[in-house]
């Protein structure tokens, strides 16, 4: 156990936790927008997978990680729009339509990968960006300020999201539409337009999450996200539909995974308990969910499509 509590190992573990949290953070922030306005999008993982392949392929062909990120954004935007059409205009049952998008993303990303790439080829990863001065601080510097650009973007998105949701008119509309769409409608807020916007934002961020994951790993494979999108959806409930909560949830999940990995590496967790340890992140998340859920309510109109006059 003493091996674990050395500075170098602790810092490496925490940095690993932060890296693991990034795709979850992007995806769950996006889903927060959608859910806050009353739309549940279960297709996040599918969008992540297509964003991941898009980003991977762009980097493979051009070598530019930023182009890869842009492609991830574009793919996410398109799929977010499609999700919005399905949930808002077509008023599909949100518990099912999202799964359709997930299956589409899973299958299409694999099909495109098999046809366009074939055998996995490695790609350039994001360059590390050491923030001047701050990255020289002992311990904290390595922990917080020596990551890739994408990590900083993810954590920057948290206060930006908080500001949008809490301090702008758009944010007010989102919340109103999520709690009481009839009242919002009667006051002149276009429920459908707000939901289109939030679901599209959600899809875009999911696309970014996927691209960030693929470029950070430097490779693509069938089902690369390994259901991370679904974890992200759960984290929105965990985070009580608030960006800060969602960030804490993503970090919790990432840290528990990183700690378990490190404890296994140092043989502190014996091999026969290895499978139980693999359950730890999910267990912690469920526990936290139970504790938190008592105090926060879901948006009242979540999963309910809106039609004027119904």
């Amino acid at each position: 156990m003493s091996d674990f509590f050395t500075t170098a190992v602790l810092v490496a573990t925490a940095a690993s936790g932060i890296r693991l949290a990034v795709p979850l953070l992007f995806a769950s922030l996006g889903e927060t927008f959608g859910q806050r306005s009353g739309v549940l999008n279960l297709g996040v993982d599918g969008i992540m997978l297509l964003g991941a392949f898009g980003g991977y392929y762009a980097v493979l062909q051009t070598g530019s990680v930023w182009l890869g990120l842009l492609v991830g954004i574009a793919v996410g935007l398109l799929l977010g729009l499609i999700s919005a059409v399905i949930s808002v205009t077509l008023k599909a049952e949100q518990g099912i339509s999202g799964i359709g998008i997930y299956l589409f993303g899973l299958g299409m990303s694999d099909l495109l990968f098999q046809k366009l790439v074939g055998t996995p080829l490695p790609i350039t990863k994001f360059p590390k960006l050491n923030i001047p001065i701050l990255s020289d601080i002992p311990i904290l510097g390595e922990l917080l300020f020596q990551h890739s650009m994408v990590v900083y973007l993810a954590f920057l998105a948290v206060p930006v999201s908080m500001y949008i949701i809490n301090k702008t008119t758009f944010g007010m509309n989102i919340r109103a539409v999520g709690e009481n769409p009839e009242a919002a409608d009667s006051l002149g807020v276009s429920v459908n337009r707000v939901r289109y916007a939030t679901v599209t934002i959600g899809g875009t961020l999911a696309g970014v999450a996927g691209a960030a994951l693929a470029i950070d790993l430097g490779i693509f494979q069938q089902n690369l996200t390994n259901a991370a999108g679904f974890i992200a959806i759960a984290l929105v409930y965990f985070g009580a539909w608030r960006p800060v909560g969602v960030m804490l949830g993503s970090l919790l999940y990432g840290f528990v995974n990183a700690i378990v990995l490190q404890l296994k590496t140092l043989s502190i967790i014996p091999p026969n308990l290895s499978d139980f340890a693999a359950m730890a992140p999910a267990i912690f998340t469920i526990l936290a969910l139970v504790i938190v859920a008592r105090r926060f309510k879901a948006p009242a109109a979540l999963t309910k499509p809106y039609s004027r006059g119904e």
Binding site: S16, G107, I219, N257, A278
Partner: protein, 352 residues
């Protein structure tokens, strides 16, 4: 309005299911007509066939849990069957990959048997239970189950496995010789079957050397979580490992980390040089065609099952393929070759 909505929904869901099916099923169907032999009545399509079983294509179907190009488990069997096809000529191959879910695989296995495929290869130890149910229903179809050493006492089931601990041992020996920091890392999925054999063999080989290196072992708990494998490799690097290895399809995540950190890599199941040409030292490549040739010959001679096969260093089923672009010191390579010879003639055992 409602009618259109339903139609759209059905269209979208149908597209989704089709895309999912296409993605999970890579179908490779090729038929080669019997070369140069023409007889009998004309078929409308102009295809010529001879009567007699020898001229009909030998049909092989593969059902496997991961992608055909995973550079690991599934790729090894697909490559082997492709070699058989190239050698024999008159072979039709169909592949259903990505079926990690046992029920899906069982459906595929049954469908192939129903369709009259000669040899259905169920390439996944988790398919055993399904095979036990399905095989008796098709006594004339031959089933091959891997990696496993059990034919359930059925006449139409072959089983095959790899003595992956042998190659693992050899590479563990070389890893110990190459490490400068004295720390080696190995990442695996779940501690079962082929993965466990390889990891145990690798560690035994590494620890047989003097000075004995520190070997860090990590079973991530998942066959497919690439991010976790990547972070596992980061954890090894943080603990000073300068040589790594691993097994299962998620190791691609670990290899890219090794590549960035200039950490050497030993691969298994398939040749992983293309992933990181600068740091892959060698790969234990499975050449299943060594046993497949025998299986196909037996089927054509009338025996459809009942034997257990193992590929190992001795029969050429396992081959250590070195990366030519990597400058492996001659004495390390000699050490590796000596270890291979020792395992083949029995003087070295991996069971340590």
């Amino acid at each position: 309005m409602k009618k259109h909505r339903m139609t759209w929904l059905i269209v979208v869901l149908a597209l989704a299911l089709i895309a999912a099916a296409c993605g999970d099923t890579a179908e490779e169907t090729t038929t080669t007509a019997a070369s140069g032999e023409t007889t009998t009545t004309t078929a409308a399509s102009g295809e010529t066939t001879t009567t007699g079983a020898a001229a009909e294509p030998f049909r092989i179907a593969i059902v496997a849990p991961s992608a055909s190009n995973d550079l690991a488990f599934t790729q090894s069997i697909v490559d082997a069957v492709d070699i058989i096809k190239a050698e024999m000529g008159n072979v039709e191959v169909q592949v259903t990959d990505g079926t990690f879910v046992v029920e899906d695989a069982a459906a595929a296995i049954r469908a192939y048997a129903d369709d009259g495929v000669d040899l259905v290869i169920a390439h996944g130890s988790q398919y055993g239970g399904s095979l036990q149910e399905i095989a008796p229903d098709f006594p004339d179809t031959s089933f091959a189950w891997g990696t496993a050493a059990d034919t359930f006492g059925l006449d139409n089931v072959f089983s095959y496995e790899a003595a992956s601990d042998e190659g693992g041992y050899v590479m563990g020996v070389m890893a110990a010789a190459l490490t400068e920091s004295g720390t080696i890392g190995i990442v695996g999925p779940v501690e079962v079957g082929d993965a466990k054999l390889y990891v145990d063999g690798f560690i035994a080989g590494a620890e047989s050397q003097d000075p004995k290196p520190q070997v860090l072992k990590n079973y991530t708990g998942s066959f497919s979580d690439v991010a976790l494998a990547s972070e596992a490799a980061q954890a090894f690097a943080a603990n000073g490992a300068d040589v790594m290895s691993g097994t299962a399809q998620m190791v691609v995540g670990a290899v890219t980390v090794a590549s960035d950190a200039d950490i050497l890599w030993f691969g298994t199941q398939a040749n992983q040089t293309s992933l990181a040409p600068s740091i892959v030292v060698a790969s234990q490549v499975y050449h299943w065609e060594v046993v497949l040739r025998d299986i196909v010959a037996k089927i054509q001679a009338g025996t459809v099952g009942g034997e257990i096969y193992t590929i190992d260093l001795a029969n050429g089923g396992e081959v250590i393929e070195y990366n030519d672009a990597f400058a492996l010191p001659a004495d390390v390579k000699q050490l590796g070759e000596d270890t291979i010879a020792g395992i083949i003639d029995g003087s070295i055992t991996t069971g340590g």
